[in-house]
């Protein structure tokens, strides 16, 4: 008799997580939140530039020696880099796969065009790509110093000044930070909902929080090139 209608055999938790749109979105949300947390710290560190070359360079030096003497130099930094790399990879791969899926799910567009969704929502995909490219340039510029005009190892203050004394450095950076703001504005709220944290009551708070975070990070990061351009930082 057809009373038992379900089987108990299920794929592993990881498999279920990664194969499902809901699970993959959760991966995206968690990796996004990790990066967001990093960015807040990163932005606060950046603000030290307003206290002069010595303090900023000392801060840069400290970053490489966190945890000493218990840890060897650079270990903590590399640990952070590994986590971040994993987060970026997970975020990018899941975003790519989910986007492919979404585009495939709606193969024919409506003949009657109509403006849909908010700006931040619609720019998530391109914004993400822009940010990815920016990160590559940012690392080549200020970490490996490959493309930095000054490229003075151990002197981040001078290198930052060099970057922001070029028009393209400023343009690239500010554009990317605008994209970042928009990305966070939608992404933070989206992550909260994906992880089940939103509700009708909380959505307003979430929206406000997302806007505040986006604005804070944008302002914090952009204050550096603006400081350089206006001569506050020199």
């Amino acid at each position: 008799m057809a009373l038992a209608t379900r089987t108990d055999r299920r794929p592993s938790t990881t498999r279920t997580l990664w194969d499902s749109t809901v699970g993959k979105k959760a991966v995206m949300a968690v990796s996004g939140l990790i990066m967001l947390g990093y960015l807040v710290v990163h932005m606060m560190g950046n603000l030290k530039i307003f206290f002069g070359a010595q303090e900023f360079n000392a801060y840069g030096h400290w970053l490489r020696h966190i945890g000493e003497p218990f840890l060897h130099s650079h270990w903590a930094l590399w640990a952070v880099r590994v986590v971040l790399l994993a987060a970026v990879a997970a975020h990018a791969v899941s975003a790519y796969q989910l986007s492919r899926r979404d585009i495939k799910a709606r193969p024919v567009a409506y003949a009657h065009k109509r403006r849909r969704a908010g700006y931040a929502t619609r720019t998530m995909r391109w914004g993400g790509v822009i940010l990815g490219l920016f990160i590559v340039w940012h690392i080549l510029d200020l970490t490996t110093l490959t493309v930095n005009e000054r490229a003075w190892a151990g002197h981040p203050y001078e290198n930052v000044l060099a970057t922001f004394s070029t028009w393209y450095g400023n343009t690239l950076y500010i554009t990317a930070m605008a994209a970042l703001g928009l990305h966070i504005r939608h992404g933070f709220r989206s992550a909260a909902h994906t992880l089940g944290a939103g509700s009708a009551r909380r959505d307003r708070t979430l929206k406000a929080l997302a806007n505040a975070l986006a604005l804070l990070l944008f302002a914090g990061f952009v204050s550096v090139p603006v400081g350089v351009m206006t001569g506050v930082v020199k």
Binding site: L3, T5, R6, R10, T13, T16, L17, D19, S20, T21, V22, G23, K24, K25, A26, L98, R101, D102, I103, K104, A105, R106, P107, V108, A109, Y110, A111, H112, K113, R114, R116, A117, G118, T121, M124, H186, R189, S190, H193, T194, L195, G196, A197, G198, S199, A200, D203
Partner: protein, 251 residues
Amino acid sequence: MKLNLRVWRQQTPDAPGAMVTYEVDGVSRDMSFLEMLDTLNEDLIVRGEEPVAFDHDCREGICGACSLVINGEAHGPERTTACQLHMRSFRDGDTIDVEPWRAAAFPVVKDLVVDRSAFDRIIQAGGYITAPTGSAPEAHATAVPKPDADRAFEHAECIGCGACVAACPNGSAMLFTSAKVNHLGALPQGSPERETRVLDMVAAMDDEGFGGCTLTGECATACPKGIPLPSITAMNREWLRALRKGRAARD
């Protein structure tokens, strides 16, 4: 009123389709949108042309059969089904575009008719409470707190029309699926199957080729029954909870 209609015509699922323009005269403001299409079809038949095929049945906004995208909006400009949309929402001389639901999981059958059987398969995957006939305890054996009952009802109102999928830029069925998950999950009767239900229904939804949620909110805006967007959030929470519980059960 006199209207210009641009209607999607497509003979068979595989045939190419196109927007075709028709002029409809003598439209009354009291007509429903579907009655206006009836008028067009009567004209077409008399002229020996094939009438425009569209799904419809109860014409009371409850069966969920009608499925027209009108001027780019699922069910048109009012928050209701196309059968309850009246021509007083339009003006004389308007040009109106009428298209079928667009989603990979809802292939066009003919003209404005699409195949929504994917929805049935999502329900078949777990959108029920196992209660074979005759097995039920006395109805008052379990009291259900009114807020829970109201919450269940709010989600149970879904009519399965598919406007959420049609409106979503990702062709996602998250709102539809979450409505059923939350309806049954809110009730004590539904709790024994809570975990399997959400895992199986989401898996079925993915298998049918629907897209994921990017929180554009288009689905909830288009929903004629007002199923709210946080319904999806609640399902996400339910799904993650089920995954954690499933892992705990295995350990």
